[in-house]
Symmetry: D2
Amino acid sequence: MESSAAQQVVGTMWEGDFYSQWMGLVIDEIREGYCRLHFVIRQDMLNGFGIVHGGVLFSAADSAFAFAGNSHGKLSMALDMSVSFIASAREGEIISMEAKEIHLGNRIGFYEITGTNTLGKVVATFKGTAYRTDKDIL
Amino acid sequence: MESSAAQQVVGTMWEGDFYSQWMGLVIDEIREGYCRLHFVIRQDMLNGFGIVHGGVLFSAADSAFAFAGNSHGKLSMALDMSVSFIASAREGEIISMEAKEIHLGNRIGFYEITGTNTLGKVVATFKGTAYRTDKDIL
Amino acid sequence: MESSAAQQVVGTMWEGDFYSQWMGLVIDEIREGYCRLHFVIRQDMLNGFGIVHGGVLFSAADSAFAFAGNSHGKLSMALDMSVSFIASAREGEIISMEAKEIHLGNRIGFYEITGTNTLGKVVATFKGTAYRTDKDIL
Amino acid sequence: MESSAAQQVVGTMWEGDFYSQWMGLVIDEIREGYCRLHFVIRQDMLNGFGIVHGGVLFSAADSAFAFAGNSHGKLSMALDMSVSFIASAREGEIISMEAKEIHLGNRIGFYEITGTNTLGKVVATFKGTAYRTDKDIL
């Protein structure tokens, strides 16, 4: 099966994305304006209270946002993100992040990202805004 | 020199904070309602465009926020954070995060966190809101 | 038909909510954890560029959020909100705001609010976090 | 005394800004990248709990943000804002909003806006991000 343009773009990004690799992110679905991925919470992702560090949840959401935002092939950069931390999560839990494009203009794209655990419970919600340049990624 | 109560609290948090340890955070100053720390951007913190992953900047800010918010000794949890990504940063750069308490009520604390590079240029700004429980950390 | 507890609560709030009255908000649906309302953009809601002032869009969303958050009968207060302004809107347009509860804990509730125009196009998206007290509204 | 370019721009915006006029905003200082204004909380700005509606605080901050962001003479539009509601305020109180430019790039500007009451107490803090077009306002 041939890979789509969106898949090729994210494949190129992935090669140098050492931090997403460190998180062990697994991309489940990628298409223009959309990305769904998951990862497993490891011990080295915990904070001082024995639960997942909020920065790790945010990082996985940021990667999903970046993959969705760049999927159209033009280099895009995050401007703003906001996060609400709704529930905690523990070592061994599988967290899914789903990034959806709400609107894409000429220069600016708006995204919503939702993090859920294995039971489908929402652990965190995010909004993200990206600036799209003219530069081709491939 | 004896350590302050705030230092003892953050020392206790630090022991189990495997993710802050992974980031190589160095705490420069901690007192009630305040934390300043720094870290060096490593290759495994980069995204697919060869600059620091936004999630790493957020994570360091989140740790500074958590240390400042818990410094009073009561277990506190982040509710909301927002971030503006202002400038990119590269491998080898030293990033400082300074978290300041804007207001602390009975249950809710508000914080501003600013990330700067070695030249003092702002790379990202953050707001954070925390919920404070009755539970003693020590 | 008898009014529900949620309707009674919002009815009580409405009586003194002179600003929501000024906006001409019309509540279309109210139940526990949910509110949908609409209003018409008037000339005195415009900014200096002849489009609706962002503050008016936010205000209508904030009212929908407040009605949804207080619908359970306990006095609640907004802590944080974030907004993305996606599309502009003009005098005479009808804007709907729909507030949904994402999660309600003992003290903290999380909400998403979406603003759409008559054509169903999203004009702005919001997240809101509220603190719930023990105080009964009725 | 001659008015500066920034003052001329905001003067032009003000003429059609019927909503800022409704709020009774008084501009205390305007220069490139900066605006400070104040207003008095009136009865028609209250919510159902007898305190200022959060939307009014946001609206005044949004106007200060817009005046600061457009002060360079190029038409700019708000993309994202976040707000933390820190303290309530009552009828008759005077609220000041101060908007500062944190960074201005070619297309994107970042701002912080702080709302204080007569006693200098912070009532709300805001971050705002704006997109700057090539279009001259004058």
